[in-house]
């Protein structure tokens, strides 16, 4: 589903954000991407949906070499990926319903289709009763669930979440990871960047660990169990 071949990402200065990263993520996998702050987690995620381009190396997403995708065609890639940001990135001048509907609106979906799908995901994240609120009038946990709903409403093949539990308490964090598990059960590949070790211990999933841009470990659930 996602393949990195000797990927380097270099910003200004001597430090590499990513240094010769090679990895492979299969369809339907649930991945925790971990590492200290500045290890390169966010950079790796951004390379998947091509918000950043690698300095060197090749990245394949769904068998397409995205390094060769022209900017005008990027929307096709991004329609297959749902993204959840740590800071939610909800539009404050729109209701919860409208925020979740954005991926469908930009695709030109019919009003009836939008209504049906948005109500479905609202029910899935348990926020149907909040659909007419604006983001600032709901709690942080609820905003995170809105961000998840927006990411999955367009039926993506991959779901990427950057520190989705970073601002939440343990109870809410567990709830959010459980939501991701339910989404993953539908065959969606889930990649979560986190440094919440408690969550990683609680949910036995494959863990990719980065340190100073280098992939230092790749631990499968089986290996973790043993």
């Amino acid at each position: 589903m996602i393949e990195f071949y000797h990927v380097y990402k270099h910003y200004i200065g001597d430090q590499y954000a990513l240094n010769d990263v090679t990895l492979s993520i299969q369809k339907g996998e649930f991945i925790f991407l971990t590492g200290a702050s500045g290890a390169g987690k966010t950079t790796l995620l951004k390379l998947i949906f091509k918000e950043e381009s690698p300095t060197k190396g090749q990245i394949l997403v769904d068998s397409t070499n995205i390094s060769l995708t022209p900017p005008k065609e990027l929307y096709k890639l991004r329609r297959t990926i749902g993204i959840v940001f740590q800071d939610f990135r909800l539009l404050q001048n729109r209701t919860i319903f409208e925020n979740i509907a954005i991926p469908l609106v930009v695709r030109g979906e019919k009003k009836s289709v939008i209504e049906k799908q948005v109500l479905n995901v609202l029910a899935m994240v348990g926020l149907t009763h909040r659909r007419n609120y604006i983001p600032m009038h709901i709690s942080g946990g609820e905003q995170q669930r809105v961000a998840i709903a927006r990411a999955i409403v367009g039926n993506p093949k991959i779901l990427i979440a950057d520190e989705p539990t970073g601002n939440l308490d343990t109870e809410l964090s567990i709830e959010i990871i459980k939501t991701f598990e339910r989404i993953n059960a539908n065959g969606i590949t889930v990649i979560i960047a986190t440094h919440n070790t408690y969550m990683m211990d609680l949910f036995p999933k494959r863990i990719l660990k980065l340190e100073k841009g280098i992939l230092i470990s790749d631990t499968t659930p089986a290996a973790r169990a043993s």
Binding site: Y75, R78, R79, I83, R89, V106
Partner: protein, 297 residues
């Protein structure tokens, strides 16, 4: 349908969201387009006047006393054969007397003092308008003048030439000024849209990441620029109409001087349509460039 609706509604929301900036830019756009419209209208009026004038370029040749009718007829046929000439009208001495009496009936009594008509016989040569600027007209007039039967001449060719030269000058100045004003309008709309894009940069970022095409993001801004240009030109058109209608009433003295040059009564519709078309195009173009530049980065 959904996309079209959301595009237009986004464009209108953007305009209402940044009221002050949009209101100010609308005023500046209207003002620059008004100056453009005024110059365009003055050029149009002078052009029209010059055209009317050049349509009737004439030369009148007065004959010496005692010239034979045969010599006059020969000259008339020679003139008629010339390609430059549209028409030749002969006026005999007696015809000239009749014309004078008709034009100035109050001076008719003077003529009773004379035994015969005191006016010379003459021919009036009217030239074809397409040869107004042709130097051959001057040569032809000089040639006729040189014949020994002609005593004097009266021509309006020089005046027509000066008018055409003046019109050309005005057109060049107008074009130069218009280009500057168009550039100013483009610059204003470009920056207003840039500000509006900047104001919505977070939203644009989200839209890009959820798979919106560049056109989906650009289109509301382009429409917004088009609306600004369109509204600005409507405002400019209204002001232009108001100025052209109110000017004669409030500036009577000036009006006398310029009314010969500018038609204040019959303001042609195409001047306004040009203004609206240009304003809208400027708006669409500058917002397209602005949004394209942002999305490229």
């Amino acid at each position: 349908m959904n996309l079209v609706t959301s595009t237009f509604s986004n464009a209108f929301i953007n305009i209402t969201r940044n009221k002050l900036i949009n209101f100010l830019s609308l005023g500046i756009i209207a003002f620059t387009l008004l100056i453009f419209g005024l110059f365009n209208y003055i050029t149009f009026s002078i052009d029209k006047m010059t055209q009317d004038f050049s349509r009737s370029i004439k030369a009148i040749f007065y004959f010496h006393e005692g010239v034979s009718q045969g010599d006059i007829d020969q000259l008339i046929s020679r003139a008629k054969e010339n390609l430059l000439v549209k028409n030749v009208i002969y006026s005999s001495k007696s015809q000239a007397e009749i014309d004078f009496s008709r034009q100035f009936p109050e001076l008719k009594y003077i003529l009773s003092e004379f035994n015969e008509s005191p006016f010379p016989a003459s021919i009036e040569i009217e030239f074809k308008p397409e040869y107004t600027l042709d130097t051959k007209i001057i040569s032809f007039i000089e040639e006729i003048e040189k014949t020994n039967i002609v005593e004097s001449k009266q021509v309006n060719v020089d005046w027509a030439r000066k008018m055409i030269a003046f019109k050309k000058f005005i057109s060049v100045v107008g074009m130069f000024l218009s280009l500057i004003l168009i550039f100013v309008s483009v610059f204003i709309i470009f920056n207003v849209i840039k500000l509006n894009i900047f104001y919505r940069k977070d939203e644009i970022h989200v839209l890009r990441l959820v798979g919106a095409t560049d056109w989906y993001i650009k289109f509301p801004f382009i429409i917004e620029g088009g609306i600004l240009g369109f509204c600005g030109s409507i405002l400019a058109g209204g002001l232009l109409f108001g100025i052209l209608k109110l000017f004669p009433a409030y500036a009577a003295y000036m009006y006398e001087i310029v009314k010969g040059m500018i038609d204040f009564e019959n303001i042609p519709l195409h001047i306004f349509l040009q203004l609206i078309g240009l304003g809208t195009l400027i708006g669409l173009f500058s917002s397209y460039v602005s949004s394209r530049q942002y999305l490229k980065n």
